[in-house]
């Protein structure tokens, strides 16, 4: 029997109203405009694994992350965590208990840490709010433990966030996420603002903590090398949809979707193997007016008439007519 996944995302959607103000619409006769930031995506995350979402800017990664942690309501579909749909109002108590097991780490740790609180208070807050400690003494001990765990000194608790570097602040954000005994951590570009050497420290730390506490990560990044290093499975997003899902090794060894191939080809070759990069065509189209059919078709080297008419469904891990019909998609 296979274990039930910890997180199940079912046909998740999010539409934003990006219309001009009502008065302008009336005067200019402009219609209402909607942007489908996330357009029906489905995937599972197993316990203890790292599932990554990659894709260009604007593909909808952060919108998915915010819906998964409940910061943003979905326009459609479901997020089910440990069997409980997080939007199910009839199970409010269960959902509340669930929430504390989910934490989020953002790209800019400074923005998510209260600048007026000392670090010890920032980390203690979830411990106090969730009554995870019997006494103030125990709270303080726990804060000290958490700081050591993420490679800081217990005495650093007396300082304020601005006294730390970017990498150290990200460590504080991780310590706070662990303070609530979170099992599932959604990380939105956790190292994108950091130097490569600091990034290595944070990625190593995240993996150590995962091994130690069996954490499950939803890991979002546009850096494919980072994703390859961290993820067991990867979903590739394009304009609000998942176009390919595969386990990490397979995706990098045998990318199937033309967009995945294009992304992989665009990564600068640090090993200097002499591999020539393929010229990338075009940029992500306007999401308010996405192309018909397969939204990748204007950039796709393998496009044929069916692609312009029909949106390809995600089947067996890939959403592409050419792949489905067995047409050649290798360069």
């Amino acid at each position: 029997m296979t274990e039930k996944p910890l997180v199940e995302i079912r046909d998740l959607k999010r539409t934003f109203d990006v219309s001009k103000p009502w008065l302008n619409r009336v005067i200019e006769g402009a219609p209402k405009q909607f942007l489908k930031a996330v357009d029906g995506i489905t995937f599972d995350i197993r316990r203890g694994e790292t599932f990554a979402l990659v894709g260009e800017s604007g593909s909808g990664k952060s919108t998915v992350a915010r819906m998964v942690v409940g910061l943003l309501p979905a326009s459609g579909g479901e997020v089910i965590i440990d069997g409980v749909p997080i939007a199910d109002t009839s199970r409010a108590a269960e959902v509340r208990r669930l929430r504390r097991r989910i934490q989020m780490i953002f790209q800019d740790p400074y923005a998510s840490l209260n600048p007026r609180w000392r670090v010890e208070r920032i980390i203690a807050e979830p411990i106090r709010a969730l009554r995870l400690a019997e006494s103030e003494r125990e709270v303080a001990d726990r804060v000290g433990e958490l700081l050591s765990l993420v490679g800081l000194h217990p005495a650093d608790g007396r300082k304020y966030p601005h006294e730390f570097s970017g990498g150290q602040r990200q460590r504080i954000a991780i310590a706070r996420a662990l303070a609530s005994k979170a099992e599932f951590i959604v990380c939105d570009e956790p190292t994108s603002a950091l130097d490569v050497s600091v990034q290595a420290q944070i990625l190593n730390l995240m993996r150590d903590l995962q091994d130690r506490f069996g954490l499950t990560y939803l890991f979002i990044s546009h850096n494919l090398a980072v994703v390859r290093h961290m993820a067991s499975r990867i979903g590739v997003m394009y304009l609000g949809r998942i176009v390919e899902i595969a386990d990490g090794k397979t995706l990098f060894a045998r990318p199937r979707h033309p967009y995945t191939r294009m992304l992989l080809n665009a990564v600068p070759d640090i090993a200097m193997t002499g591999r020539m990069r393929e010229a990338v065509k075009g940029e992500i189209p306007n999401p308010i007016n996405p192309p018909s059919g397969c939204t990748f078709h204007p950039r796709c080297p393998f496009v044929f008439d069916r692609c312009r008419r029909e949106a390809p469904p995600l089947e067996e891990g890939v959403a592409c007519h050419a792949v489905r019909e067995g047409r050649p998609v290798a360069a």
Binding site: S197, R207, D269
Partner: protein, 333 residues
């Protein structure tokens, strides 16, 4: 021997602060030849941008160039008047920054900004300047340039805007381009296009480029030589293949190992312990010594100067580390 386009000798830049004088750049030297791309990498705060600003004469108080020389095609430019420097900037040195919006005025049409800059530096009529602008936009890969030239910056995507900035940097046909993180804000797909563009223009026009970036992949693909900076000094400089594939300086080794790669599997990334010291607390001797796993007594006393490594290396390779001093050669791995 032909003169390098840019020659920097023993450059020092200081900032006067309440806590005293901070040495942001502490004696660095390098050259960039015609048609050459010098990549500059290193930790945040190492002094990459300050070096670029010094070359284009944009160090502002409380900062100042405290020593050394900067030569453009043999002529000293570090002691020019602001007036004379303004003329060189844009005309002989082009600039590309991370955020294209800092270089583009949102209120002006792209075409007006281009023609104005072209006419400031080249003796052309408005019509000729507009034609030149359209040519430039085409050259940097903007489709339908004769239409797009009348658009405003916000009507362009991030990648397209960066292309416009590149067109702007190139419009006076400069000898040298300083590009500070030109692709950091862009997606990999667009980044690849911009890098290819910089490379092509450099090859076709013989422009010298100083390319500052965090992205070692971009360096590996674009640069001919690379300088690794640490705490205001150059730790290692040399041909890109040598420095990226076989770095010598312990900091450069750590930096290269810290980068996750698409080609190789590693369970853990190489991790350099600790963080770069603050400028106000640079340790004596080698600035890297508290984080280095090879430190020995001399590292805490003498500041290492760039030397040709004792190990076999390309003639242009320099490393500022006592391990590579022939007197210490027995300490080599």
């Amino acid at each position: 021997m032909t003169e390098p386009v840019l020659s920097v000798r023993d450059l020092r830049v200081e900032f006067a602060t309440r806590r005293g004088i901070l040495k942001a750049i502490d004696g660095i030297s390098f050259d960039i030849a015609e048609g050459e791309v010098l990549g500059v990498v290193g930790e945040s705060g190492a002094g990459k941008s300050v070096t670029g600003s010094a070359v284009i004469g944009l160090i502002e108080p409380p900062g100042r160039i405290a020593g050394g020389e900067i030569r453009l095609a043999g002529e000293r430019i570090d002691n020019l008047s602001p007036q004379a420097m303004r003329h060189i900037r844009g005309k002989r040195i082009g600039m590309i920054f991370q955020d294209p919006l800092t270089s583009l005025n949102p209120l002006y049409r792209v075409g007006d900004q281009l023609t104005e800059t072209i006419r400031t530096h080249l003796d052309l009529s408005p019509r000729q300047a507009r034609e030149r602008a359209i040519e430039l936009l085409a050259e940097v890969g903007i489709p339908a340039p004769e239409k797009r030239i009348d658009g405003y910056p916000h009507e362009f995507s991030g990648g397209m805007r960066q292309r416009v900035v590149i067109a702007l940097a190139l419009c006076a046909e400069p000898d040298l381009v300083i590009a500070d993180e030109p692709t950091t804000a862009l997606d990999v797909s667009v980044q690849a296009q911009i890098i290819a563009l910089i490379k092509r223009l450099c090859a076709e026009r013989g422009t010298a480029v100083m390319l500052v970036t965090h992205d070692m992949g971009v360096i590996a693909e674009t640069a001919d030589r690379v300088a690794v900076m640490y705490a205001g000094r150059i730790a290692e400089i040399g041909p890109v293949a040598d420095v990226v594939k076989h770095p010598l300086h312990p900091y450069a080794r750590g930096l290269m190992g810290a980068i996750p790669s698409l080609e190789t599997d590693a369970d853990r990334l190489v991790q350099i312990p600790g963080a770069m010291p603050r400028l106000s607390a640079i340790p004596p001797g080698c600035a890297f010594n508290p984080r280095c796993d090879r430190t020995f007594a001399r590292c805490r006393l003498d500041r290492p100067e760039p030397i040709v490594p004792a190990a076999p290396a390309d003639a242009g390779h320099r490393v500022a580390c006592h391990l590579y001093d022939s007197a210490e050669a027995e300490a080599l791995p």
